[in-house]
Symmetry: C2
Subunit: 157 residues, 2 copies
C-alpha cells in the first residue's frame, strides 16, 4: 500500500540516505549534508520541496523539485530527482511520485515540467517516452563551479 506525503524537517536524514542511494546508482558523488539540506529546504523561503513515498510504512522513494522559468513559455517545475529504491520497483511508485509533482505543478500554474536523465538509463527513458515527454536533445548542459566559477565572478563590472 502506497502513501505519498511532503517531507518534513525530521525526514531530512532519511532523504539524504535516499539521495546517497540515487547517487550510487548514477555513479555520482554526494557533497551535500543534512545541515545544508535543512537550511535550504526547511527555512523561511525553501529552495526546494520533497515528496516521500512509503510502501506499507517503509521508505520507498522520493521526488525532489523546485520552480524554473522559461522566458519563452512561462513558469515551470523542475524535477531534480525522482528515485525509487531497487527493492520497491515494479509497483508504479515512480509514476505516482511524478504524477503528484505534475499535479502540484499544474495546480500552481506551471506550463511545463522539466528534468534530466542519464543517457544510459534506458528504463527511465522508456518510462518518460510512455508519458509522451519531449526529449530536448539539441540542448547541451553546461556547468561552472569551483575555481572557474570564482574566476568568472571576478570579471564582474
Amino acid at each position: 500500500m502506497l502513501s505519498i506525503r511532503p517531507a518534513q524537517a525530521d525526514d531530512i536524514s532519511a532523504v539524504l540516505g535516499l539521495i546517497r542511494e540515487l547517487a550510487e546508482f548514477e555513479k555520482l558523488e554526494v557533497k551535500n549534508s543534512e545541515e545544508v539540506l535543512l537550511r535550504d529546504g526547511f527555512g523561511a523561503s525553501p529552495k526546494f520541496r520533497v515528496l516521500i513515498a512509503e510502501w506499507d510504512g517503509q521508505l520507498a522513494g522520493y521526488a525532489f523539485f523546485f520552480p524554473f522559468y522559461s522566458t519563452f513559455a512561462g513558469p515551470g517545475m523542475f524535477l531534480e530527482d525522482l528515485f525509487v529504491r531497487s527493492q520497491f520497483r515494479g509497483k508504479n511508485i515512480g509514476s505516482r511520485l511524478l504524477s503528484n509533482v505534475a499535479a502540484i505543478a499544474v495546480g500552481e500554474g506551471c506550463v511545463a515540467m522539466r528534468w534530466q536523465v542519464l543517457d544510459w538509463n534506458q528504463p527511465a527513458i522508456d518510462f518518460y517516452k510512455e508519458l509522451d515527454a519531449d526529449f530536448l536533445d539539441e540542448w547541451r548542459t553546461v556547468s561552472l563551479s569551483g575555481e572557474p566559477l570564482r574566476r568568472a565572478a571576478g570579471g564582474a563590472a
Copy 2:
C-alpha cells in the same frame, strides 16, 4: 561604454523584445507575454531576475536567471538566457553579463552555475570552453507540457 544594471518593471517591454530576438536566433517560438513576465518577475516573490546591458545608453543584451538546487552539491544559479544583440557583439558584453551573474551567484552562496546551449551554437560553446565550464553531455533534458502534463497530473494519488 558598457553599463550593466538590474531590470525594473518598466524595462519589461524592452526585455520581451530581446527575448524575441533571442528566440529568432534560436529558431524557437515565444509564447510568453509582458503581462506574465511582469507578474512573475516583479511581484512579491519574483521567480527570476534580469540584468540589462547597455552600450552608450543603447540596449545591447540581457541575462535572465533564477536559483536551482543540486541535491548532490547544494544551491546553484541557473542562467536561462544570455543574449547580446548582433550589432553589439565582439565587445565582451556576453562575458561581462555572465561575470555579473556569477558574482551574484557566488555572493549568495551558490556552489555552481548551470545553463544550456544549442549544440549548433559553436561560438557560444567555444566561449564556455574558454571559461573552463563542464559539458554534462551524459544528461538528456526531458520536457512535459500541454496535454501530456495534464494527463500525468491526473494520475496523482
